[in-house]
Structures are given as C-alpha cells and as structure tokens.
C-alpha cells in the first residue's frame, strides 16, 4: 500500500471531510443513533433463537462503497478508500454518512431515483419532456432537506408548465386522468394499491370500488393541455373550476379540460353518466362537499395524507427507503402495503415510521438512522428464500442505470461525453444525452421487486462489446489504464491500483494470484491488464452494490 501514499493526488472527498469533522466534532445526531439501536433490538427480539446466524459486520471498504452508492450514487475513488481505511476513529462510519448527506450529489442521486419511480409508470410517453425539471426539482428538495410531506404535497397540488415545474410530472405521467393520478398518488405516497378496486371490489382487500372513486373525486378538475405556442412544445397541468357547455373529448380520447365532479362509471352501462362521487379520503373517512374548488380539494387531500394520524404515509416512505438500503422491504413489493398485507417485522416498521413522523418526515434523518443500524451494516448475501428469517444480512442490489453509468465513467476515467460519440453503436434511438441513452438500456423501475430485475442480453452485449467500453479499457490511452500502468511499473502494484479504481477495494490474495498467473500466461502486460479490466467491469460485483 505504500505506493498509494506516495502518489501525487488531489485530496479526496473523504479525506477532506474527515479533517473537517475532526475539527467540528459533529457526530451523527443522537436521536438517529438511539432510534437505530432500538430498531436493531426490535428486530432481534422478533426471532429467538435465531435459526440461522446473521452475516457478519461488513468490512470498511465494502461499507464505503455501499454508502457511496446508496447516498451519492457514485463509486468512492482510490483516495477515498485509502483515507477511510486509515481513519481509526470509531465514529468514522457515521461521519461518512454525514459527509455524503451534505454532498449535493445526494439530492441528485435520490432525485433520479424518484424520477424513475414516477416516470417508469407513465401512461403518457410525452411526460418524458418533464424529466429534467423533475430531477432538478427533486434534487433541490432533497439537498435542502425538505420534509417528505412537503415534497409529496408539491406533487399532489402541482399546476403549470411541465418544463418549468417538475412537481407536475406525476400528473403529466398519467395524462391528468383522475383515476390514474389517484392510483399513483395512493401507490407512491401511501403504498396502497387501491386501484385494484377501480373496477370491482377486491376479494382480498377491504377497499371498495366506491372508495377508489371517492379518492378520484379529489382530482376531476385537473387536465393536461398542450402548449404549441411555446418555443419548445410543452404541456400545462391546468385546472377547471368553471362549468362549461360541452364535454371536449375529441376523437383522440384526449382530455384537455377537467370536469367539475368525478363520476363512478356504471359497470352495466358504460355509456351512462355514472354516479356522482363526493371526495372522501378512505383512510380516515374525512369528507369534502361536492362543488369544492380544485385548490381546496387537492390541498386538503395533501394535508390529510401527510397528517400524523395517517400511518401509511410514513410507512410507505420508510418501507421503500429501508428496502433500498437493507435490500428487502418490510412489505414486498415495496409499494403494496396495507392492513391486509403481510409485514415481516411489524413492530420495527411501526416504531421506525412513528419516529420518522415525529422527526417531521425528515428524509436525511431517516437515512442517518437506517444506515446506523446493524441491519444495514451486515455483510450482504443473496436474497433469502421465502421461508428464511428476514434481515439476517444485507442484500446485493443491482445498480440503477445512473449509478452504473457513473461507475463506468470513474472506473475507466471516461469523460461523460465519450459514450456520445459511439451513441449509434449503443443502439438506442431515444434519449439524447449519453446518460439517458445508457439509462434506456440499463435503467429499471425501482418499484419493481428486485428479484424480478435480471440483466438483459442487450445489457450484457453493451458491457462486453460496446466500442466505448472497449476503447475505455485500452492500455494505449494516455489516461485510464495507460496512465495507471505507466505510474506502476510493478504488476502487483498496478493490480492493486486497478482493483481500487474499479471495485473500490484491493484484490484478495487468491484474486491477486489468479491475475498474476493470468499476466504471466498472456505474456504481454498491456494486453493482460486490458483483459483484467474487462473482466472486472463485467463482473457481478461491479454491477451490484453489496
């Protein structure tokens, strides 16, 4: 490792903050740490005696890479790894979390995450127009530590130009159709799939068809209107509080104008007007009169949904973030909660959700808390079988498109513009910038059960054969592998550096031996190291966060 220390380098992100933090002595908030301890106690109390041993506590390099990917969506640099491993403070893990929570990449990472939550379920393709505004809006909210209630309210009450107000994206993604917007609001903010009751009373759920349409009655007055006069074509989420003579539904079945009230269709006679629905929030039974203005409808619903007497709002968020960080939700799928669903550790979720609500839905507090638990800091194992005890290990997560894209850039020393040159070769028409193009191939809907998210052949082909990657691993480049080999004339040193750069850890003794044998067998240093680099970025470890 001594060669690492001798290098001329910029100060790493971790090194900088460790210095800063030593000075300020600011350690993770007390309440978060106390809550984390209680969470672990509740989880442990659930199963006794343990039928299978828990995984061990994760080592420092894995913790570092996991935390980086989870909070800022990037790989730590070799310098970060070094600085972290040299820090002997017992508080260094909590400090790392604090550092990364304060980094603007935190908001960007989670902004992209929620962009995907909203846009992967779009029924209106043109909602993609709002992609940039949506990500920017979310990134700012998360970096400013806006409360989850505040963020949720913005989405439910949004109006205006979808290119300017990112919070309109949820409504735009569902074409402003009241039923579809309702279903998404309930799924995302309550974790309740009440749309199952849209057409019939559900056999295994308590929600009735009427309750779904009463919830839809909060949204009849919104619509999406195209704006063809704008410099770039766009849409507006508009509100209609005035009666009008004609229902403007053209041949295309587009809905440019809201209706004053929502009606539940008559199943026996779909062409009939349907039954007038009064706005009622099914969780609490709170009611608004028909005739209420749109602004009052949507603002009131947002108040009711985010109020502390509605436990599902906190539970839905906690369940989702817990699942992203620990690898498995209390409820699975993560957006299908409710009184009729099975929860794998109800006391723990209730407690954590309650504390989250007490914190004022403080999103950074929740990250801080979960990441301080033993449950988070366990080594990862493959997803458990259904009948095995939950939360005995962390679980590997496939990197999302954005995370993998950034990981490739940093592992191969690529500028973000490089893939653009070979965009044609990437084979995807839509997208535009290299990141979006990459996401078309590698992105996935974060609400989908992870067990169902496998890689595709097309993804494997990109990783194995895409020109930008094969140019990226070239030892003839002045930067990247070329520079690394030049700076480290000894194979063993070069190998350590390469592992640090690509996998953010050093090679194990066996791995070192395997690679050194390989180098000897190939006989040509550049060629051998290119092959090793290729193998590392194509490895299972590289595309997962462990």
């Amino acid at each position: 490792m001594s060669s690492l220390l001798q290098r001329d380098r910029r100060l790493s992100r971790v090194a900088c903050t460790l210095l800063m933090l030593v000075a300020s002595a600011a350690v993770a908030e007390d309440s978060a740490l106390k809550t984390a301890t209680e969470v672990d106690r509740l989880l442990a109390a659930r199963v006794a005696p343990p039928p299978a041993p828990s995984a061990g506590r994760v080592d420092d390099p894995t913790f570092l890479r996991r935390t980086f990917l989870d909070l800022v969506g990037e790989l730590p640099t070799a310098d970060d790894v070094l600085a972290f491993s040299l820090d002997d403070s017992p508080e260094k893990r909590n400090k790392l979390v604090e550092t990364l929570l304060a980094d603007s990449a935190f908001g960007e990472n989670w902004g992209r995450y929620w962009r995907d939550v909203i846009l992967y379920r779009r029924t209106e393709e043109r909602a993609l127009i709002s992609r940039v505004a949506l990500t920017d809006f979310l990134a700012k909210q998360f970096n400013d530590n806006a409360s989850w209630a505040e963020i949720a309210t913005s989405f439910m009450t949004a109006t205006g130009n979808i290119r300017e107000n990112g919070a309109t994206a949820l409504i735009m993604a569902q074409s402003g159709m009241p039923e579809d917007v309702t279903a998404e609001v309930s799924r995302i903010f309550l974790g309740i799939q009440i749309q199952c009751a849209q057409c019939h009373d559900h056999p295994t759920d308590r929600w009735k068809r009427e309750q779904f349409h009463q919830l839809a009655a909060f949204f009849p007055r919104i619509a999406i209107r195209p704006d063809r006069n704008a410099e770039q074509p766009t849409f507006h989420v508009v509100v209609n509080d005035q009666p009008f003579r004609f229902q403007r539904r053209n041949n295309n079945n587009n809905r440019y104008r809201g209706t004053l009230e929502h009606r539940m269709p008559d199943l026996a006679d779909p062409s009939a007007e349907g039954q007038l629905m009064q706005p009622v929030f099914f969780v609490t039974g709170s009611t608004l009169p028909s005739g209420t203005r749109d602004a009052d409808r949507r603002n009131t619903l947002a108040e009711w949904i985010t109020a502390p007497d509605n436990p599902w709002f906190a539970k839905a968020y906690v369940n989702r973030i817990w699942s992203e960080l620990v690898g498995e939700g209390f409820y699975e799928p993560i957006d299908d909660l409710g009184p009729d669903r099975e929860c794998s550790a109800p006391e723990t979720l209730d407690y954590l959700a309650q504390r989250f609500a007490d914190s004022g839905y403080d999103t950074k507090w929740l990250f801080r808390t979960i990441m301080a638990t033993d449950a988070y800091q366990l080594e990862s194992r493959s997803r458990r079988d259904y009948d095995e005890v939950p939360f005995r290990a962390n679980c590997p997560q496939r990197l999302r498109g954005d995370q993998l894209f950034d990981a490739l850039l940093s592992a191969l020393d690529l500028e973000s513009r490089t893939p653009q040159r070979s965009r044609g070769a990437m084979g995807y028409r839509r997208g535009g910038d290299p990141r979006s193009t990459f996401n078309l191939a590698f992105g996935y809907d974060p609400s989908d059960p992870r067990v169902e998210i496998g890689g595709s052949i097309q993804q494997a082909l990109v990783m194995m054969n895409a020109p930008f990657i094969n140019q990226g691993i070239s030892a003839r480049r002045p930067d990247g592998l070329g520079a690394l080999l030049q700076a480290n004339p000894q194979d063993e040193e070069a190998l350590v550096e390469l592992y640090l750069k690509v996998l953010a850890r050093g090679p194990s003794p066996t791995e070192k031996q395997t690679c050194l044998d390989y180098i000897r067998q190939v006989g040509e240093r550049h060629e051998a190291f290119e092959d090793i680099t290729w193998s590392l970025i194509n490895s299972t470890e590289f595309i997962h966060r462990n």
Binding site: G427, I453, G454, Q458, A460, M464, C515, H544
Partner: protein
C-alpha cells in the same frame, strides 16, 4: 417425465397466491409434474414444448402512425370520402384494393383482409399499446406486448438467438412487461446491418480467454456470499456469448441473400426488414416485428400514403411469396396493421385525421385462409356494416393461429392474474 422450465417463465407470485418463484420451482421439483401442483401455469409449459416442435412463428408488420384504410385496403372510389384513390382488381375475383398496392393485389389469394377493425382509442401511443397488448396502459400493471407473450408461450428457451426481434423502435409498442426483461424485444434499428455490440472487438481466442478469467474471478467472488447473483450473471453472459459466437448470427445478415431475392423484396428499409424477418424465422426466431413509420398523414394524405405504400407493397408481397415457396407460410402468421384508421372526410389540408371506429388489417399464413374479406364498411366508410372485429378479437385470432392459449394467465407483481387476451372472440371464418 421431464419438464424444461423456461427460466424466464418463472412467474413470481406473491403471498396472495401462496407461492413465490423459488417456492414454486421447489414445489414442482418435490412433487413432480404429474402431481396436482400443476394448477395454473405449468400446463402451458408442457403445451409450449409441443408448440415449439410445430415451429410456429409470427411476423408483425406494423404501420406506425395509422394508415388510411381508404388509400390501402378499403378504397371508396364511388364516394366523395374516397378522394382520388382508385380501386384495382386483385388475384381474387371480387376483391378490390387501392391502386397504391399493385404487388399486394397479386398475392391477394394468400391474404385475409379485415375491413371492420374498430377500437375506441385514437391517441397514437395509447392505441398502439392497446393493439400490441390488448390493454390500455395503466400505472399498476405492465402488460406484455404480443411478441413477448408469443415468445413466452412458444419459443425454445435454449435457443441461442433472441426469440423476439423488433426492427425499428416505436412509441407505445410495449415490451416484456410483467414477463420480465428476458422477454423484451431485441431491438434493431437498421435491418441492413448486423445488430449493435454483437461484433467482438478482439480475436475469438482472446474473447474466450477473457470470459475464462471473468468466470474464475466471479467464482472466487461467489465464495464470499452473493452466489445467486453470480449464478444469474453467469447464465446471462453465457447466453450473450453464445449468441455472439453462434453460427446462426448470419441470420442477421441480409447481404447473404442472393441479388435476385434482394431485388424481389425491393430497396426500402422496410424491404430489408421483411427480408431479415424471413431469415430470422427461418433460423428459428419466434416473433419478428418490422416497423414502418410516417403513416400519420394529417396533411396531403393521398400523396403521402401512396409513397408509403410504395415502400411496403413490394416487400409485403415478396415476403408472402418467399415464405410460401420455402414452405414456411403455413406455420408463419404475417400480420399487417396499424393502431387505428383515418377519418372518412378529407380535411382542409387534404389530410385525414385519427379514426379508430372503422379501419383495416391484413392476415396471412399460419393457417389463415387467403383470398377473403371479413367485415364491411358503409359506402362513406364512416361505419361498420358487417362483422365488426375488435382489438381483442384480432389478438385472440392471432393467438389461435399460433396455437397460443389466449386465456393463459400471467401474474402481475402484486399477484393479479392477467390473461394474455381478456375477452374477445376468435374470428373463426379467417381459418375456414
């Protein structure tokens, strides 16, 4: 009895329906197939094994943007709504189509025209999604597209090329949805070149050597925990490498065809797509979708539709002839359609707007009896006067021709059973 499980067909069923994916597999492994565990989904696996032997395949020729029925299969030369478009005789006496499709007219004996297609959806992306999946898009269920469903039901899981290939991307075409990424289409943008990222960038020896090193390193990694992930990744890479190194990859190269064959198909991008589709089906691919774009003719409809027809007419006819000459037509269903039709009245810009209430589609092969017309529209083309065929009727008919059970249920991620086609009836006279 042994059953090969399509590994991608392992539908996850959540607790509402008791079994999860691994439990399901375990249940089957424990109880054996003949036992009573076969209630809902494995019977189809047995059935699919048989179907594969029959070699059923489907080519969907998709005209994105919605072609005008007046300028294609349902001309109305005697009426003001028909515009200048003339009707011409075909190889089947009594059947006339628009003068824009002379080659197609010559193969009408192989084609079953449906002039009474109808739906209620007139927005491109939604209608396209509807025609591909049988459902309108919703946020809660990701309905699989036709090609994914057919590949899921019919294709051989050990086949070394993708079972579902889409030539040219389109809006609203949908993908594998709840069946998983394993059933997403393999998308090609340019049919005249081999697919992207399938050319290896090193010598084959070095490629194999790299794969070997990757395997060794991943194996070592698996000893530290994530065995399942390593196993999945290994299988995926094996499949991808098998594809890249497969001798069948030549199927993607239409330059291998004789000059005479290539000339028979013509020169458009669509022609290359049709020729590629035939090559792929011949090599064992189950479902090929070839997309043609630009049919959204709100202005200068007759002129533009005539040009577009010129780009599809010869290849379509050549494809049907070629399939027949090679003895493949009986087992290959060829479907030609778009997401809806166009308005009877010609608008102020000499265009036609969206019209889902009455439009045309064409079926051939796969047991369909050619040389017939099903359904009829009124003299002004505004309404259907005989034998309406809805979207689900059409999809059910295609499934029937391919031997796919349209009532088969897949599970959504929240445990809701989703039929391949919900409702509708097979248009039985198409096969009579």
């Amino acid at each position: 009895m042994t059953v090969t499980f399509h590994h991608q067909a392992e539908v996850a069923v959540n607790r509402h329906n008791v079994v999860r994916r691994r439990d399901f597999l375990r249940t089957i492994a424990c109880t054996g197939v003949a036992a009573g565990a076969t209630g809902w989904s494995d019977m189809l696996t047995l059935q699919a094994a048989e179907l594969r032997k029959q070699g059923k395949a489907c080519i969907l020729l998709w005209l994105a943007g919605a072609p005008s029925q007046f300028e294609t299969f349902d001309p109305k030369p005697g009426h003001a709504n028909g515009g200048e478009t003339k009707a011409i005789a075909t190889s089947v006496s009594g059947i006339q189509i628009a003068h824009t499709l002379p080659h197609t007219a010559n193969v009408m004996d192989k084609v079953c025209l449906i002039r009474s297609m109808n739906s209620r959806e007139g927005a491109h992306a939604r209608a396209s999604y509807l025609m591909h999946t049988g459902y309108l898009p919703t946020a809660s269920v990701k309905y699989p597209t036709l090609g994914s469903n057919v590949a899921h039901q019919v294709a051989d899981p050990d086949f070394d090329l993708p079972s579902f290939v889409r030539v040219g991307g389109i809006r609203g075409g949908a993908d594998g949805g709840l069946l998983g990424v394993g059933f997403n289409p393999f998308v090609l943008n340019d049919p005249s070149r081999p697919p992207e990222n399938t050319a290896i960038t090193t010598t084959s020896d070095r490629y194999q050597r790299r794969l070997g090193l990757l395997g060794r390193l991943d194996h070592e990694y698996a000893t530290n925990g994530p065995q399942q992930e390593v196993k999945n990744q290994g299988e995926l890479y094996e499949k991808a490498a098998k594809m890249v190194l497969s001798p069948r990859m030549d199927a993607f190269d239409i330059q291998e065809e004789s000059e005479a064959t290539r000339q028979a198909y013509g020169e458009s991008q669509f022609a290359s797509g049709c020729l590629l589709a035939r090559r792929l089906v011949e090599s064992g691919v189950t479902f090929v979708e070839v997309n043609s774009t630009g049919w959204d003719t709100h202005a200068d409809n007759a002129e533009r539709t005539t040009e577009l027809c010129a780009s599809i007419d010869q290849p379509y006819a050549a494809l049907l002839r070629d399939l027949e000459e090679r003895g493949m037509l009986q087992n290959t269903m060829v479907v030609l359609m778009g997401e809806f039709g166009r308005t009877p009245k010609i608008n102020a810009r000499n265009g036609r707007d969206h019209y889902p209430r009455a439009f045309s589609a064409a079926l051939a092969g796969g047991g369909v009896r050619g040389g017939q017309v099903i359904g009829q529209t009124s003299p002004d083309g505004a309404s259907i006067t005989d034998r309406p065929v809805g979207v689900t009727d059409m999809l059910r008919t295609i499934c029937h021709g391919l031997g796919v059970n349209a009532d088969h249920e897949n599970m959504s991620s929240i445990g809701r059973p989703i039929k391949i086609v919900d409702g509708g009836d097979v248009v039985t006279e198409a096969f009579a």
